[in-house]
């Protein structure tokens, strides 16, 4: 093994990479906690991160530098993971196969896949937020898809719409207020049903999520003594790697637990974290 690959596979590399990542996270947390970057983070959540990053209108160049730095550090960690898995763990299994080491390899490989799934969620598909619609209105998006709101079934007191937070279950039952929507593509109906808060409509990898009920934002609807039907706020998203991600993540957790059970009574050869002993 060459000196460079040895270094790329080393735990020293992992440690320093993680230390820099932690410091990078502290910087991110400071920005997230500051009012100056509130709009910037909201912008990141409003669209797919890929679109946010590539758009010139989203602003917040420092936030973009931070995000790119985070991606670079994760890529560097991924390189370490590949070399470490290949050069150390895999080699050890070939020479001295045992259960805990196999599980360590599996957990590390799955961790790499989870990280890729995370990246895929940020970069693939699409996301449209804050789509405000009333009964009968439609919203068109990519590839000829369209959503139509057939009806808004709001049974709670309309006064609750004035509140932005501190809403009790007596004031609002999220299992009873809903909207009936239809998803079509080029005029052909693909799926229809009721969407509730915390209960979206799914069609293949497209998800239509009911985020909120709001008062009508149109000035004409605000007549004295007349309560117009609430509008709904939707998010339309498509994440082609979501299902894979949701399957591999618990596998990683299960791998950790199995490794823990296998090594619970076995004292480390040296040091505390047997995983880290070189």
């Amino acid at each position: 093994m060459s000196r460079i690959t040895e270094k790329l596979a080393s735990f020293h590399y992992t440690t320093w990479n993680l230390v820099v990542l932690l410091l990078w996270q502290v910087w991110g947390m400071l920005m997230a906690g500051s009012a100056a970057y509130k709009t910037g983070f909201q912008g990141m959540n409003n669209v797919l991160v890929r679109d946010w990053l590539l758009s010139k209108d989203t602003g917040f160049p420092v936030l973009k530098v931070w995000f790119i730095g985070l991606c670079i550090l994760m890529i560097l960690l991924g390189i370490n993971l590949i070399f470490c898995s290949w050069e150390k763990i895999f080699r050890l299994i070939r020479t001295r196969f045992n259960g805990p080491k196999l599980y360590m390899l599996i957990v590390h490989v799955i961790f790499g896949l989870v990280a890729l799934g995370h990246l895929g969620g940020l970069m693939l598909g699409y996301e449209y937020n804050n789509i405000q619609l009333s009964e009968g209105k439609t919203y068109s998006f990519e590839d000829g898809y369209r959503i139509e709101v057939k009806s808004v079934n709001f049974i709670s007191d309309y006064k609750v719409l004035e509140k932005t937070k501190y809403i009790t279950k007596d004031e609002f039952d999220y299992r009873k207020n809903s909207a009936d929507i239809t998803l079509t593509r080029d005029g052909k109906e693909l799926s229809s049903g009721s969407v509730f808060l915390l209960d979206p409509l799914e069609y293949r990898d497209i998800q239509v999520t009911l985020r909120n009920f709001i008062k009508s934002p149109e000035p004409g609807d605000q007549q004295v003594g007349v309560e117009s039907k609430p509008w709904i706020v939707l998010t339309v998203s498509r994440n082609p790697v979501l299902n894979i991600f949701l399957v591999i993540y618990p596998l990683m957790i299960a791998g950790i637990f199995i490794h823990l059970i296998m090594t619970w009574k076995k004292p480390p050869a040296s040091g505390l974290a047997s995983e880290g002993a070189e």
Binding site: T14, M29, A32, N45, G121, K169, R211, L260, P267, A273
Partner: protein, 246 residues
């Protein structure tokens, strides 16, 4: 009534800690049990009064965590020679948690409409079980650091510290996974950029660091146990910061 019971819990845990320091094992054990029962009674009272499980604000979640930590402290699993010493650290940590609650409103959380939703409940339960486990692991690590001798017996302390830290990491990741599903069906995306999510990454990275430190020998063993022992306190600090920011 809730407040009175809350101060009684602080007093009982202080008493337990004092008995442990003084080496009065039986009295320490008895006061620990009474403190745990009182803590459980307070949690049940909060649940009855508020109509939700006591997991949702700083006061509720920290009382829940002191309960879990007290339970762990009473059923120490580790080297028998060191069990009483570890219990001293566990009750020190319980007191730290309780002291933190003194700086926050001592009342149940406002009962939001979605607090009965199963994913929200599970997310909080796993999260607030993982932190006491990290602190429990810290107790083993601290005891290992202050032991002058480093032999196979004392290394069992670090091994148990590592075991509980890894267990807490698994539970924390479980809470993250539940949070991901909750976020996906609630907001249409499993990831939301913001302080809470960045804090979660920080915790995962810190745990990864604790498990990947290289090196052999006494110096590196101490470094590893310091980082492992700090994990719980680092997470605790993040929770306090989040509590302060509302």
């Amino acid at each position: 009534m809730l407040i009175k019971l809350y101060y009684i819990i602080i007093f009982l845990n202080l008493l337990c800690f004092s008995f442990r320091i003084a080496g009065r094992k039986n009295l320490g054990y008895a006061s620990g049990i009474v403190a745990l029962i009182a803590n459980g009674a307070l949690l049940i009272s909060i649940a009855i009064q508020s109509g939700h499980l006591p997991l949702f604000n700083f006061f509720e979640s920290f009382l829940f965590m002191t309960f879990v930590l007290g339970l762990l402290g009473l059923c120490i699993r580790g080297p028998k020679d060191y069990a009483d010493k570890i219990r001293v650290w566990v009750w020190f940590e319980i007191l730290v948690l309780l002291i933190m609650t003194l700086f926050f409103p001592k009342e149940p959380a406002f009962s939001m409409y979605n607090y009965g939703y199963i994913l929200i409940i599970l997310f909080h339960i796993f999260r607030y079980v993982s932190l006491p486990l990290m602190l429990y692991a810290s107790a083993f690590y601290i005891q290992f650091i202050i032991q002058r001798e480093k032999n196979e017996r004392t290394r069992l302390l670090s091994q148990q510290g590592r075991n509980f830290l890894l267990l807490s990491a698994g539970l924390f990741l479980t809470s993250e996974y539940i949070g991901i599903i909750w976020c996906q069906i609630g907001w249409g995306d499993f990831w939301m950029w913001g302080l809470n999510f960045l804090q979660s990454i920080f915790i995962v990275l810190f745990l990864m660091l604790a498990f990947h430190l290289p090196g052999k020998g006494k110096f590196y063993e101490d470094i590893k146990s310091i980082i492992g022992g700090l994990a719980g306190f680092a997470v605790l600090t993040l929770y306090i910061v989040r509590g302060l920011l509302g």
